[in-house]
């Protein structure tokens, strides 16, 4: 099993993601430059955080047209697990692999702080080692992270159990005060209908060791590796 960490010009969490796999859980991962056209030899993909193409036009709008994205879309369609963190989540929405969009934070400020998340659904390759209702702590760091979708799209997400993480307070309540960016229904992470594509604004790649303030992010990486171990 080998994980591809895609590097776009302006990615800045690519190293965090690589470390999370290679050092955090001793799983093989390697960088793949965005100009590459193939993901052959890889079993899963991570689109890391950062400011791909300087966030020009809209966050993720230009990265979505990078050559590697054709392979990401095809592989996602074939069932390959794809994780998008922060800017990676924005790219997945722009590419149409996930519904909705991430817009400017409600308070217009860049939010950089630890948040609490409630795991809503553990039925994905990235969350199956968790249990629904489990509270995880990891940081967010973004200016455009308010999740938006039209009401009917939002209804579908809820009905099909595609909301994976919500922002909550430390007691697990999805309150307005616990919502750092104005996301609809406190949504912090969603998956596609086939459950193999997950996008989230918080950074598990910055929370895989107690030295970083939390090791709760390990859940995602360990779940992914376990998925392949079980095959």
């Amino acid at each position: 099993m080998k994980i591809a960490i895609i590097q776009f010009p302006g990615s800045n969490c690519d190293q965090d993601c690589l470390r999370a796999f290679c050092d955090g859980i001793k799983a093989p991962a390697a960088y793949v430059w965005h100009k590459e056209a193939s993901l052959s030899g890889y079993d899963a993909v991570v689109l890391p955080g950062g400011f791909s193409y300087g966030d020009y036009l809209r966050c993720g709008a230009i990265a979505r047209f990078s050559p590697i994205m054709k392979a990401v879309v095809t592989s996602a369609g074939d069932g390959m697990p794809v994780l998008g963190v922060c800017n990676g989540f924005q790219i997945l929405c722009e590419a149409g692999l996930l519904p909705g969009a991430l817009i400017r934070n409600r308070d217009l400020t860049f939010v950089c702080q630890p948040v609490y998340l409630r795991l809503e659904n553990n039925g994905t390759p990235f969350t199956h080692l968790g249990r629904p209702g489990q509270i995880l702590k990891m940081p967010v760091a973004h200016g455009e992270g308010a999740y938006f979708a039209e009401p009917d799209a939002l209804t579908r997400l809820n009905e099909k159990g595609q909301v994976i993480f919500r922002y909550v307070d430390r007691n697990g309540t999805a309150s307005a005060a616990a919502n750092p960016n104005g996301s609809l229904e406190n949504i912090a992470g969603i998956c596609n209908q086939h459950r193999n594509v997950l996008g989230m604004m918080p950074h598990p790649d910055r929370a895989w060791d107690d030295l970083l303030g939390s090791s709760d992010g390990r859940l995602l990486f360990a779940s992914l590796v376990e998925t392949f171990a079980a095959r």
Partner: protein, 83 residues
């Protein structure tokens, strides 16, 4: 002479009415602060000026406006012929 004239198109991208535009709210509040207290609403969009050496294919232009220059989930756009 005519060969040196570039064809200009203006693309105006605006947030949809159903999408909260906190930037517009902040600008509106600033306008009110400066004495323009009758301003009801401000929405902030994006204006792009495109120059072409020849007429673009309308379908291709439409696709680019829809898929790259705007995000149909959150934005609407109009294309106007530039001066």
């Amino acid at each position: 002479m005519i060969a040196f004239l570039l064809m200009k198109l203006h693309v105006i991208v605006m947030p949809k009415r159903s999408v909260l535009d906190p930037q517009g709210v902040a600008v509106r509040n600033a306008l009110r602060e400066t004495g323009l207290d009758m301003v009801e609403q401000v929405r902030v969009g994006r204006f792009l000026e495109l120059e072409f050496s020849r007429e673009p294919d309308p379908a291709k232009l439409e696709a680019i406006c829809r898929d790259l220059l705007s995000n149909p989930v959150i934005e609407d756009y109009v294309v106007e012929r530039g001066g």
